[in-house]
Symmetry: C2
Subunit: 250 residues, 2 copies
Amino acid sequence: MKLKVYADRMSQPSRAVIIFCKFNGIEFEEIKVDLAKRQQLSAEFKEINPMGKVPAIVDGRFKLFESHAILIYLACAFPGVADHWYPADLSRRAKIHSVLDWHHSNLRSGAAAFVLNTVLAPALGLPLNPKAAAQGEKLLSSSLSRIESFWLKGNGRFLLGGFQPSIADLSMVCEIMQLEVLDEKDYSRILGPHKRVQQWIEDTRNATRPHFDEVHNILYKLKTKLALQRPVQANSEMESNTKKLLPSKM
Amino acid sequence: MKLKVYADRMSQPSRAVIIFCKFNGIEFEEIKVDLAKRQQLSAEFKEINPMGKVPAIVDGRFKLFESHAILIYLACAFPGVADHWYPADLSRRAKIHSVLDWHHSNLRSGAAAFVLNTVLAPALGLPLNPKAAAQGEKLLSSSLSRIESFWLKGNGRFLLGGFQPSIADLSMVCEIMQLEVLDEKDYSRILGPHKRVQQWIEDTRNATRPHFDEVHNILYKLKTKLALQRPVQANSEMESNTKKLLPSKM
């Protein structure tokens, strides 16, 4: 029986799992759990993940949720996955666990709070909370600095000095990609100072093409839609900044 | 060269790592990083962990931080560690990753916010924040409910139906143990409704004795000190509730 991936491509960890499966030739059935329709809270989905979150997988009789756990499981359970995604070497594997653990309470926590409280809250029926947005930005910016000054140190182009991406690169780059839905002023202020992070996003995209852009397409469309809803001045500003920040095709 | 564990026993993940090493007969040197003196931010410690947090380990030339990553590394690197701590079986291991990932943004996040904003903040030169405390309590209580209704389901006495503890039991029970420093009213309100969680704490203590109590001794002492600083009525209330909630010796 084929692997089932329960996901919504609007969710950054869902995107990481889908890209991983596609890139590694893992056959799977993608089952959409529509977050906008709150399907993650349905009784049917809670049979898959009682916590009501995506992504989740079902492999035969085995059910699993939490995206890092899923990526590790897939890397180990499917023999075609190259070692660089989740190295067998004890020390390298330990460092990947370390950066993934760090991710939870730093990059993920900061990015999620900021994007929710500047863009997404109204769509979920919640008020925008400027104080929570400010706290989120602080954590997000310090996390991006740490990625640049520590996690991306080394000879390679990827985290922990790797020459090829690991599941941590994919998870964290997908997290950062949600910033695409910000207005251009916020986007430039937050990501602009981090050239090394921008290059790393490009390198991860290139290493997983064409799946990276295909799976992020939903986000690019939302970005365009939101940009069109903003005042004209903001749009022109966005265009020039986008060119500056992202030299290659989005 | 002996394993070095940089820790402060006032930190719950530090306690988990120390108990794990002691119980499993891993020889190590414990190097205190005094959080009250902000030693975790010293240039010397930042050579070990640039993030300025405990615990961290040095094993030969290998440095590692983040307690879950450390526990996994120790379970794999030291041959004397029994399989139940971090099972080799792919599915069981995946479930342990899942509960540890869940822990980050649920139990840990809730417990840390609540304890900081009801007890610890003044000692760290921060104001108590009742709103953050209320949010923390909400997440903490829902996490304890989830542990009881989902993670502790099954035949065994430990997480995921286990008959013996895993690194996830140790990590999460140590997290909950910090609630010992709360005043008795808060403690009873939060932990009182969760009899299954209380039993699980006892089972984990029993499974790792005498190291569990020895390593938690610093917390029991602080609990007594804080109780003596509180009004008499609160003390008598504490005594009766402690007997009710914790039948065995603390």
